[in-house]
């Protein structure tokens, strides 16, 4: 009988107990992995932000717009590589509840600024040359089952046309996606000109501008130059990096990170207590046995290793099951959620973190019983009934 067999045997000496412990550890890591994936998806916007990409918004608030003329003025500022502009369309399809994120943009420069978006060359030509074309994100296309060539009437809950109509007829000319799965593809873009010329009110205004500087080191200088350009005008601007903007928006929703941390912490504390006390008890039960092993010549370090390996093994067993279950769950619902929460999937960094925690967890719960077993005095141990 080698050490591995010995560890395995003592781990499953009480089957029900071992299964229950595995179950509870599984729970903790299930929660950890699912919430981890969730929090990662929420932060995807911050993480996928290009380092040299800036956003220029109305300084009062991002819901207010600015004159169209700002666009060409920003384009002329030194250090600006590409600049594009966008308007929030307030889009929905047929029923106001089918909300669709849609932006009216200057198409060519938009694709230049968001270089990570992939469109086939043929589609790109049609998209740029046909005025009622839109480019559809792959996730959105999947959600509604739309494909290239279809005509979609896209309604707006904000804007109306001069004839009172609230829907713009658009043709799907291209479907875009990105190599990095975290880049959102759950929205659509169409030509600003086509949007603007039909507007009943608020014509020649743009919502915000997005620009690249080519080098993150130039960000501050460019941002300052832009904001100085419009200081003391009716629409002052505020320019920040894309990441800072995404972070600020997330914070408005509330402190999600803190809530997730608290929940994961509570789950871990619960399981730690259960597993910890059970391990102590399980080793206490075996006091006599440990004493016998020592009498037979097992060295204290070897006994220490046995007990510790037992708890680490238990932790890994439960934890890996939980991680697997979480991966299954996230994959199952990830597709359905792609529209609202792109990037909700299990990644290797979550898995690596989880495995690290499993080992740590096993060590923490096994340490006290292992030290006790190592220090056990043979005479005391044998005399225990």
């Amino acid at each position: 009988m080698n050490d591995a067999t010995l560890i395995r045997k003592s781990l499953f000496r009480k089957k029900t107990r071992a299964i229950l412990l595995v179950l509870s550890i599984m729970t903790a890591f299930l929660i950890f992995a699912v919430l981890g994936a969730f929090s990662r998806a929420l932060n995807a916007g911050v993480e996928t932000a290009a380092a040299d990409r800036l956003v220029t918004l109305n300084a009062i608030n991002f819901t207010l717009d600015m004159p169209y003329a700002y666009y060409s003025r920003v384009a002329g500022i030194e250090g600006v590589e590409h600049v594009t502009h966008a308007n929030w369309f307030g889009g929905y399809y047929q029923d106001p509840r089918n909300v669709i994120q849609a932006f009216a943009v200057e198409m060519e420069s938009y694709l230049a600024v968001y270089g990570e978006l992939v469109i086939t060359a043929g589609d790109r030509d049609t998209l740029l040359n046909q005025r009622d074309c839109m480019a559809l994100g792959a996730d959105l296309a999947g959600q509604y089952g739309w494909s290239v060539g279809e005509q979609i009437p896209l309604s707006s809950n904000i804007w109306s046309q001069q004839d009172g109509a609230r829907a713009w007829d658009l043709e799907i000319c291209a479907i875009f996606d990105a190599e990095d799965e975290d880049v959102p593809a759950n929205y659509l873009i169409f030509h600003y000109e086509y949007f603007n010329e039909a507007l009943a009110f608020n014509r020649d205004r743009i919502g915000w501008m997005i620009l690249t500087t080519g080098d993150p080191a130039r960000n501050d200088a460019v941002a300052q130059a832009i904001d100085a350009q419009f200081a003391n005008s009716p629409a002052e601007t505020e320019t920040a990096t894309e990441a800072a903007f995404g972070q600020a928006f997330l914070e408005q929703v509330g402190n999600i990170g803190l809530i997730l941390t608290l929940v994961i912490g509570a789950a871990f504390a619960t399981i730690l207590m259960i597993v910890g006390t059970t391990m102590v008890m399980a080793i206490n039960e075996r006091t006599k046995e440990v004493a016998v092993m020592k009498t037979l010549g097992f060295s204290p370090p070897r006994i220490f290793t046995h007990v510790l390996s037992e708890s680490v093994l238990l932790s890994l067993l439960g934890g890996l099951l939980g991680l697997g279950l979480a991966a299954g769950m996230v994959t199952a619902v990830g597709g359905a959620l792609a529209g609202f929460l792109p990037g909700f999937r299990m990644t290797s960094d979550i898995a690596v973190q989880a495995v690290g925690l499993m080992v740590l967890f096993g060590v923490v719960t096994g340490l006290l019983p292992a030290v006790n077993a190592m220090r056990l005095n043979i005479v005391d141990g044998l005399s225990k009934d």
């Binding site: 029900t16 107990r17 229950l20 412990l21 179950l23 509870s24 729970t27 903790a28 299930l30 929660i31 300084a59 009062i60 608030n61 819901t63 207010l64 307030g90 106001p96 309604s155 707006s156 809950n157 904000i158 109306s160 009172g164 609230r166 009110f201 009716p234 002052e236 600020a248 914070e251 408005q252 929703v253 509330g254 402190n255 608290l262 929940v263 509570a266 789950a267 504390a269 619960t270 399981i271 207590m273 259960i274 910890g276 006390t277 059970t278 102590v280 008890m281």
Partner: protein, 391 residues
């Protein structure tokens, strides 16, 4: 039999201190499960209470067609004139309709807790606005003077955002404002708003003549249908009316549902973990007392009292856990102020509310954990063989 059950139960309960490690772990883990559940329910309930408390049945909200939220809506001066003469709207002593045309823009406020900016609704209102909010009272200061750049702020805003205290001057966008009053609407959504004169807002934000919404006092809740019929048949109008209650219920549903849907599954998954803990603790309890139970059997006790005794121990531990969890949540969370992004793209300030119904749900969950956790160990206790008495 009853006497036997009583005796065995007392033996079980009195011996808990001998197994304090496992027992304490069970109690604490159940407490944490109940705490997480109640935390989420308190958030969902607090949010819902704030938003539902806002809706009145005899106030109509009129927005442009399809807008759904005030921010998306736009109404011209002509539309407001046509709405003023609509049937079903109550009139005041002078015979004028009680309605308020309002325009709201979003300004950045600085949160006290994090120091970060968050969207605050800055609402331009006329003189009827206060009359159209049930329970509106000025708690400090006075109302703004028409045409001035004075603000009155809701209580929720003062709680969550810095710089809005009475008498202070604050810069919102390009303009300076002076805070001259604080109002309360009894914890409704409006407590998260800042109000100023409609004309001033229209001028400063270049929206001359434009409003977003019209609120009107109805003669009675049934008058809403008459008003709707008029608005629909008037060809010069492209607007929709709903009662204020419907309006807020529609915009709040999503957030509180999300919290509920997040809270319950989490609590149930965690409860499975705690269940395993309770189960373990009870098996340990039965194992430790095997000889004692067998002795009791040998002197004539039946198996059933042993079952009841173990179940009672398990339920008691879970109950204590449930109560500890509920009490801790109540002490820590009840009344805590929080804010999140609401339907109108602005912050809604609300307070966590630990409600009796949520506490009952939490303690019930704890007892379910106790019942399942104790069941199989209790069966084992009932089946202990008399022979084990010799150990």
């Amino acid at each position: 039999m009853l006497k036997q059950i009583g005796a065995v139960t007392m033996i079980n309960l009195r011996s808990i201190p001998q197994r304090w490690g496992m027992s304490l772990a069970t109690v604490l883990s159940v407490a944490l499960v109940v705490g997480v559940l109640l935390g989420f329910l308190a958030m969902a309930n607090g949010f819902r209470a704030t938003v539902n408390g806002t809706g009145s049945d005899d106030v109509a909200v009129i927005l442009s067609s399809g807008a759904q939220a005030e921010l998306n809506s736009g109404l011209g001066r002509d539309s407001v004139r046509l709405i003023e003469v609509a049937p079903g709207i109550a009139t005041d002593a002078a015979g004028d309709p009680v309605l308020s045309a309002e325009l709201y823009v979003i300004a950045d406020g600085r949160k006290r807790a994090t120091g970060t900016d968050a969207n605050l609704p800055l609402r331009g209102v006329g003189e009827n606005a206060a009359a159209l909010r049930d329970g509106f009272t000025l708690t400090e200061g006075r109302m703004f003077a028409p045409g001035s750049n004075e603000l009155v702020v809701g209580e929720g805003v003062i709680r969550e955002f810095a710089g809005f205290d009475l008498g202070e001057t604050i810069r919102l966008g390009a303009n300076e404002w002076r805070v001259v009053g604080v109002f309360s609407t009894g914890g409704s959504v409006f407590d998260s708003e800042v109000w100023a004169d409609l004309g001033t807002i229209q001028n400063l934000y270049q929206r001359t003549g434009a409003v977003q919404s019209v609120r009107a006092r109805l003669e009675d809740p049934a008058a809403l249908d008459r008003l709707k019929a008029y608005l629909e048949n008037e060809p010069r109008l492209d607007v929709e009316a709903s009662s204020e209650r419907e309006f807020f219920a529609a915009s709040a549903g999503g957030t509180s549902d999300l919290l509920m849907f997040l809270g319950w599954p989490l609590a149930i998954v965690m409860a499975v973990g705690a269940l395993a803990g309770a189960w373990n603790a009870m098996y340990a309890s039965v194992d430790a007392r095997t000889r004692e139970i067998a002795t009791l059997r040998a002197i004539g006790f039946a198996g059933f009292p042993a079952f009841v005794g173990t179940m009672a121990e398990s339920l008691l531990l879970a109950l204590i856990g449930g109560i500890v969890g509920a009490a801790a949540t109540y002490l820590v969370f009840d009344g805590v102020s929080a804010s999140t992004l609401g339907g109108g793209f602005t912050q809604i300030v609300f307070s966590f509310a630990v409600t009796p119904a949520a506490v009952i749900a939490g303690v019930t969950l704890a007892l379910i954990v106790g019942a399942f956790g104790g069941f199989f160990p209790a069966i084992r206790a009932a089946r202990v063989s008399i022979l084990r008495a010799q150990g």
